[in-house]
C-alpha cells in the first residue's frame, strides 16, 4: 500500500513533495562541475584487457606509436615539380615544430631514411635531403623513388599525384587539435595542391569534440520540440512543465550520481540524457487518462487518485521493463556498457518515482479552470459521438473526434480482419528475417561522419591513392635470439607479405625484409636481381648493422625487437572496417597452417586489430545483453499479466518492431555498430511499453465490462456464447462482441495516449536527422521509426492477435480466467 500512500501523500502535500524533490535535485546538480570526459572508444575496454596489454607490449617491443595522423598532399598534375616538392619540405618543417607530436618519427620525403647507391658509395639519408631543381634532377629523384618499394604506396601513389606525411602523436595528445594545427599550416599554402588530414585519432577526437557539441545542441532542441508538441496535445503549460521537469530531474539525478561517483562521461554515457528524456515521456499516459477522468468527475483530487489507480499498474511495469532492459547491461563485461545500463536503469526508476509523486503533486497545483479548458477540448470532441458502442455506462466517453475515430478504425482493422492482419504480419516478418540475416556487426568510426564530411573525404582519398589509413600489425615471434635474421625466416615473412597483399583491403605491407632486400640491391650496384633476401644470416646481420649505423634508430626498432626474436609486419588497410583485419588474421592462419614455420608464431596487433577486438567484445557484449534483456522483459511481462499467454501476446509488437527495424538496417546495409547497439536496448524498453499499456487497459476494461454485463443480463450473454461456433462449457468467456468493443475502446482511449507518446517522441527526435554526425541521425530515425512501428503494432496487431487467439487467451485449463482479478487483486508493490 506504500505506492498508494506516496501518491496520496503527494496529492495532500504537493508543495512539500516539490520542495523535497528540488532539494535532492540540487544535491545531484552540484556534482556536475566535477565532470570528466573521455571520448576515446579505446577506453571502453579496460587498460588491463588482454588486447590492450598485448598491444602495449607490441608497441614497446617495436617503439611504435599508438596514434598517427596522415596528411595527404595531392596535386592532380603530379607532385614531381619543384614547387610542390618545396611545399612538402616546408610543411614538414612546420609540422616538426608542433607540440604533441613525436618529432623524430614524423615520416615524409624529407625525413624518411633511404638507402641508395650513388656512384661508388652507399648513402643512407633522408629521401629528399635536397630539393631537386632541374628537370634532370627531378626525373632522377622520381626514378629513385619508384625503384624503392619501401616508399611506393606509403609516401608516393603509383600515379605520382599523392604523397603523405605521417605524424605520430605523443601519448595523450588530442588528435583533433593537432589535425587542426596541421590544417592551419597547410591553409597558408596556395597553389594546385590539395590537403587531406586523416587517421584514427582525427576521426576519434573530432567525434569526441563534436559529440558534446551536438549533445548540447540537439538535446535542448529535442526538449523544445517535445514541449511544443506536448502543449499542442495537452494545452496546459503547468502540466507539460511537470513532464519536462520529470525528464530533467531524472537526467540530473542519474548524471549527477554518475559524475559524483567519479565515472567519466563516455560516448555511451553521453547518450543517457537523450534516452532518459525519451523514457520520461511515458508519463503522458498519466495525463492522457487524467484528462479523461477529470472531465468525467470534475473532482481533481479524485481524478488524480483514480488515474493513478488505473494507470499506475502499466506505468509501473513499463518502467520496470525499461529499467530491466538497461539494467541487464550491468552484468556485461565492458565497464562503460555497465555504467550506461545501470545509470539509465536508475534514471528510469527516478522517472517512475516522479510519476507517483511529483506528477500527482503537479496535477494538484494546476488550476482546475485551466485543466478544464484543456481537457474540455477533449470532452467536447468526444461528446460529439453519436454512437455508443457500449451501453453499460452512460458516463463513458464516446469517441468520435478525428484522432480517436482513426484510432478506432485502426483497431478495427486488426479486430475485424485478424487473419489478414496476422498473415500480412508474418510476411513482413519473413522479409525482416532476411534483412536481419544480412546485418553486419561492425564499427567503423570514420563512417560516423557523413559522406561529404572532411574526415570521411580525406580518409577516402588517402585510401584510394596510398596504402591505407588503417594500420594493423602481424608479429612473428620466436623464442630464439636472432631468429629473424635467418634467411629462411626472412623469406617466409616475405612470402607471407605477398600472400596478404592479395587481400582486396590490404594496401601495403612492410617489414624488416623490405629493408634487407633494399640494402642488398643497393650494395650490389642497384642491380634489380639483387632485390632479394641474401643467402646467409651473417650477410643479413651485417646489412642490418650497417643500416643501423646510419639510419634513425626507429627505422629498425619499428620492425624488429631487440634480440631479433620478433619481427613486426606492418599492414596498411584501406578501411577501418573490422572485417578487413579479420580477413588478414584468417589469411595468416590459413597460410601458417599450410606452410608451417617451426619455432615461430604469428599474432595480430595494432589499432586495426584493436578495433576488431573492440568490435567483438563491446558489440557482442551489447548483443548478448540485448538478448538477455529480451528474455527478462518477457519474464516481467509474465509477472505483469500473471499469465504466460498474455505475456506472449504483449511480446509480439516488441518482437515485430525490433524485427522490422533490424530487417531494415540489414537491407540498408548499415552496420550493427555502437550507436545501433545502444539503441537496441532502448527499443526494447520502449517498444514493449505500448503493449503493456494496451493489454493492461484492455484486460481491465473487459474485466469491468464482463461483470457489469453479467449483472445486467446473464441470459443475454449465454445466448451470445452459445451462438459461437465453438461452444465452451463455461459461462465466463467474454463474448466476441464484448472483446471487439473493449479492443476498440482500448485502441481509442489508452491508444490515444500511445499515439500521443509516439508522435511526441518521433517529432522530438526527428530533429536529430539534421545532425552532421551519422550516429545522431541514426538515433533520430531509429527512435522515430520505433515509436511509430510499436504504436501501430500495438493498435492494429494486438487486436488482431487477441481476436484470433481469444479462446486460447481466456481459457486456463478448460476454464476461463477472470483476467481482471489476478491483475488487480493485488495492488502493485511499493516504489
Amino acid at each position: 500500500m506504500k505506492r498508494f500512500s506516496l501518491t496520496a501523500f503527494s496529492v495532500d502535500h504537493p508543495w512539500l513533495v516539490i520542495a523535497i524533490v528540488a532539494v535532492i535535485t540540487l544535491g545531484f546538480a552540484i556534482q556536475f562541475p566535477k565532470i570528466t570526459i573521455d571520448t576515446d572508444p579505446k577506453n571502453m575496454l579496460p587498460a588491463t584487457s588482454d588486447v590492450r596489454v598485448y598491444n602495449d607490449s607490441v608497441e614497446k617491443d617495436f617503439s611504435l606509436h599508438k596514434d598517427t595522423i596522415v596528411l595527404g598532399i595531392v596535386n592532380k598534375h603530379g607532385i614531381f615539380n619543384q614547387t610542390t616538392l618545396e611545399k612538402i619540405a616546408k610543411i614538414t618543417d612546420e609540422i616538426l615544430k608542433l607540440k604533441g607530436i613525436v618529432t623524430r618519427d614524423v615520416t615524409s620525403f624529407t625525413t624518411v631514411d633511404d638507402v641508395m647507391s650513388t656512384g661508388d658509395s652507399i648513402t643512407v639519408k633522408p629521401l629528399m635531403s635536397e630539393i631537386p631543381k632541374t628537370q634532370q634532377e627531378i626525373d632522377a629523384f622520381k626514378k629513385s623513388i619508384y625503384e624503392n618499394p619501401l616508399i611506393v604506396d606509403r609516401l608516393i601513389s603509383k600515379d605520382g599525384t599523392t604523397t603523405a606525411i605521417y605524424i605520430p602523436l605523443e601519448p595523450g595528445a588530442n588528435g583533433k587539435e593537432i589535425a587542426d594545427r596541421v590544417k592551419d599550416i597547410v591553409a597558408k599554402e596556395k597553389g594546385d595542391e590539395q590537403y587531406y588530414v586523416a587517421g584514427d585519432p582525427v576521426a576519434r577526437d573530432t567525434f569526441g569534440a563534436e559529440m558534446f557539441k551536438q549533445m548540447g545542441f540537439f538535446s535542448p532542441i529535442a526538449g523544445m520540440v517535445m514541449m511544443i508538441v506536448l502543449y499542442i496535445l495537452f494545452g496546459n503549460f503547468g502540466l507539460i512543465s511537470s513532464v519536462m521537469a520529470v525528464a530533467m530531474i531524472s537526467v540530473i539525478w542519474s548524471m549527477g550520481l554518475l559524475i559524483g561517483l567519479g565515472y567519466p562521461v563516455h560516448i555511451m554515457s553521453s547518450m543517457i540524457p537523450v534516452f532518459l528524456m525519451a523514457i520520461a515521456t511515458d508519463s503522458i499516459h498519466i495525463f492522457n487518462e487524467f484528462y479523461f477522468r477529470f472531465r468525467e468527475t470534475r473532482d481533481k483530487k479524485q481524478a488524480v487518485l483514480d488515474t493513478m489507480k488505473v494507470v499506475g499498474q502499466p506505468v509501473k511495469y513499463t518502467a520496470l521493463a525499461t529499467a530491466a532492459g538497461f539494467g541487464v547491461l550491468a552484468i556485461m563485461h565492458i565497464i562503460p556498457v555497465k555504467v550506461f545500463g545501470i545509470f539509465i536503469a536508475f534514471g528510469t526508476i527516478v522517472i517512475r518515482l516522479m510519476s507517483f509523486s511529483l506528477i500527482p503533486a503537479a496535477m494538484m497545483l494546476v488550476s482546475e479552470k485551466n485543466i478544464l479548458k484543456a481537457a474540455g477540448g477533449e470532452d467536447e470532441k468526444e461528446n460529439l459521438a453519436p454512437e455508443c458502442f457500449y451501453q453499460g455506462r452512460a458516463a463513458r466517453p464516446r469517441f468520435k473526434h478525428s484522432g480517436t475515430s482513426i484510432l478506432k478504425k485502426l483497431g478495427a482493422i486488426g479486430a475485424h480482419k485478424s487473419t489478414t492482419t496476422v498473415t500480412v504480419g508474418i510476411i513482413v516478418l519473413i522479409f525482416a528475417a532476411i534483412g536481419i540475416s544480412r546485418i553486419n556487426v561492425n564499427n567503423n568510426m570514420v563512417k560516423w561522419f557523413k559522406k561529404g564530411s572532411d574526415v570521411r573525404k580525406s580518409d577516402r582519398i588517402i585510401n584510394e591513392k596510398l596504402g591505407g589509413t588503417a594500420l594493423g600489425y602481424i608479429v612473428a615471434a620466436s623464442e630464439e635470439d636472432d631468429f629473424i635474421k635467418k634467411p629462411e625466416t626472412m623469406r617466409y615473412i616475405e612470402s607471407l607479405q605477398r600472400d596478404l597483399e592479395k587481400l582486396p583491403n590490404v594496401g601495403k605491407t612492410f617489414s624488416v625484409v623490405d629493408y634487407v632486400k633494399r640494402i642488398n640491391r643497393v650494395f650490389n650496384n642497384n642491380v634489380p636481381a639483387f632485390d632479394r633476401v641474401p643467402d646467409t644470416k651473417e650477410a643479413i646481420a651485417q646489412y642490418l648493422f650497417m643500416f643501423s649505423m646510419s639510419a634513425k634508430p626507429s627505422d629498425l626498432d619499428n620492425v624488429v625487437d631487440y634480440p631479433f626474436r620478433k619481427a613486426n609486419i606492418w599492414i596498411q588497410l584501406k578501411t577501418w572496417d573490422a572485417n578487413a583485419m579479420q580477413d588478414v588474421i584468417d589469411r595468416v592462419k590459413a597460410y601458417t597452417a599450410q606452410y608451417p614455420l617451426s619455432g615461430a608464431q604469428f599474432k595480430p596487433a595494432g589499432a586495426a586489430y584493436f578495433n576488431l577486438v573492440w568490435n567483438n567484445e563491446v558489440l557482442y557484449d551489447m548483443l548478448k545483453g540485448f538478448i538477455l534483456a529480451l528474455i527478462i522483459v518477457f519474464v516481467i511481462l509474465v509477472f505483469n499479466f500473471r499469465s504466460f499467454k498474455w505475456a506472449l501476446i504483449a511480446y509480439m509488437p516488441l518482437l515485430f518492431t525490433i524485427a522490422v527495424i533490424y530487417g531494415a538496417v540489414g537491407f540498408m546495409g548499415k552496420d550493427f555498430d555502437m550507436p545501433i547497439s545502444v539503441l537496441s536496448c532502448l527499443s526494447l524498453g520502449m517498444a514493449v511499453d505500448f503493449a503493456i499499456h494496451f493489454i493492461s487497459r484492455f484486460r481491465r476494461r473487459i474485466g469491468e465490462k464482463s461483470e457489469v454485463e453479467k449483472m445486467r443480463s446473464l441470459e443475454d450473454e449465454e445466448k451470445i456464447l452459445t451462438s459461437q461456433p465453438l461452444n465452451l462449457s463455461t459461462s465466463q468467456l467474454p463474448n466476441s462482441e464484448l472483446i471487439t468493443d473493449a479492443l476498440l475502446w482500448t485502441a481509442a482511449r489508452p491508444g490515444k495516449g500511445i499515439i500521443r507518446n509516439a508522435i511526441l517522441f518521433a517529432t522530438a527526435f526527428s530533429a536529430m536527422i539534421f545532425a552532421p554526425l551519422t550516429p545522431y541521425v541514426t538515433v533520430g530515425l531509429f527512435i522515430a521509426g520505433m515509436m511509430f512501428l510499436s504504436a501501430l503494432m500495438s493498435i492494429i496487431y494486438l487486436p488482431a492477435l487477441i481476436v484470433m487467439f481469444r479462446r486460447w487467451l481466456f481459457i486456463v485449463d478448460g476454464k476461463t480466467s477472470r483476467c481482471s482479478l489476478p491483475i488487480y487483486g493485488r495492488p502493485p508493490e511499493a516504489d
Binding site: 618529432t103 658509395s121 652507399i122 648513402t123 635474421k485 650494395f523 651473417e538 649505423m549 631487440y562
Partner: protein
C-alpha cells in the same frame, strides 16, 4: 638674453654629461658580454681539445650498451683507434667490432675533416665487401646508439653561437654552463644545447639538448672521469633520450695514448684484414 643663453648651454652641458654617463654605462654593460662570448667560444674550443684530441693517437676498447626504457639491452663491443692529424681538425678513426657476434670482424673507418664532409668506409666480412658510405648526415645515430656521429667525433665550434649562461657547481666540480645555438637553424637537430664544462679538466660533465620546440630531448652525462697517462678521460658516459627513455651507456675498458699508430692502419687493406696488435 645672455643669461638665458648661458642657462641653455648649462642645460646642454648637463644633458651631454648624462648622455656620456649613459653611454659609458651601456658600454660597460656590453663589454663583459662581448668578452664572455669570446670566452664561451674559447671554452668550447678548449673543451673539444680535451674531449676529442688528447694525445697523438689513442686506442680504446669500447663497451656500449643500448638500453631500452623497459630494460632490454643490445651490446656493441669494439676497438676504436684514433689518430690526430691537426689539432682541433683532421682525424682518422678505425673501428673493429667484436659484438654483436654476427658482425664480428666488421670494420669501419672514418676520415674526419675540419672543413668538409667525412669519408667513411665499411667492410662486411660476410660479403667480403668494402663500401664507401656517403656521410652527409652527421646527425644520424652512431651504430644504432643514442649518440650521433657528431656526438662521437665532434661538431664544428664555428657552426654555433656560444655564450656563457651561468657558472655553477656540478657535484665537486666548478663548471661553466655554455649555451650553444646553431647559426644555421637547419644545421642541427637542436635549437640550443647547454654544456656544463668542468673548469679544471675542460671536459663536458653534462649536456642538455633542446629541440626546435624548446623541449629537452636528450641528455649527456659523464659518469666517471679518470686520469689516463696524464690525460683526463671520461671513462663512463651515458646519452639518454628524454622522450623515449632509451639510453646508451659507454664504458672505456682499456685506454692507451700515444701508441704510435701508423698511417697504413687507416687503409682499405687493413680494413679487410686489421693487424691483431692494433685491435686487441
Amino acid at each position: 638674453m645672455n643669461k638665458v643663453r648661458s642657462q641653455e648651454s648649462g642645460v646642454k652641458k648637463w644633458m651631454m654629461g648624462i648622455l656620456v654617463v649613459l653611454l659609458l654605462l651601456t658600454a660597460y654593460c656590453l663589454l663583459p658580454t662581448v668578452s664572455h662570448a669570446a670566452d664561451a667560444s674559447g671554452i668550447m674550443k678548449k673543451s673539444q681539445l680535451a674531449f676529442l684530441y688528447p694525445g697523438k693517437d689513442m686506442k680504446i676498447r669500447v663497451y656500449m650498451k643500448l638500453i631500452s626504457q623497459d630494460g632490454k639491452e643490445r651490446v656493441r663491443e669494439m676497438t676504436m683507434l684514433r689518430k690526430n692529424y691537426q689539432e682541433g681538425g683532421d682525424q682518422k678513426y678505425f673501428i673493429y667490432f667484436y659484438q654483436p657476434a654476427d658482425v664480428r670482424d666488421m670494420t669501419f673507418m672514418v676520415y674526419k675533416y675540419a672543413a668538409k664532409d667525412d669519408d667513411r668506409w665499411i667492410f662486411m666480412p660476410a660479403l667480403n665487401m668494402v663500401r664507401r658510405i656517403a656521410a652527409n648526415d652527421k646527425r644520424s645515430s652512431f651504430v644504432g646508439s643514442d649518440f650521433t656521429y657528431e656526438d662521437v667525433s665532434g661538431r664544428d665550434i664555428e657552426d654555433d653561437n656560444h655564450s656563457i649562461a651561468k657558472e655553477e657547481k656540478v657535484g665537486e666540480r666548478d663548471a661553466y654552463v655554455i649555451k650553444s645555438a646553431p647559426k644555421d637553424e637547419k644545421g642541427a637537430d637542436f635549437s640550443y644545447k647547454l654544456s656544463w664544462i668542468d673548469k679544471g679538466s675542460f671536459l663536458p660533465i653534462k649536456e642538455e639538448y633542446y629541440d626546435k620546440r624548446g623541449e629537452l630531448y636528450k641528455t649527456f652525462t659523464s659518469d666517471e672521469i679518470k686520469d689516463m697517462q696524464g690525460f683526463p678521460v671520461i671513462t663512463k658516459r651515458t646519452m639518454k633520450d628524454a622522450k623515449t627513455g632509451h639510453r646508451t651507456e659507454v664504458a672505456y675498458q682499456k685506454t692507451e695514448f700515444n701508441i704510435g699508430l701508423t698511417d697504413d692502419v687507416f687503409t682499405e687493406r687493413y680494413l679487410k684484414k686489421p693487424l691483431k696488435k692494433w685491435i686487441e
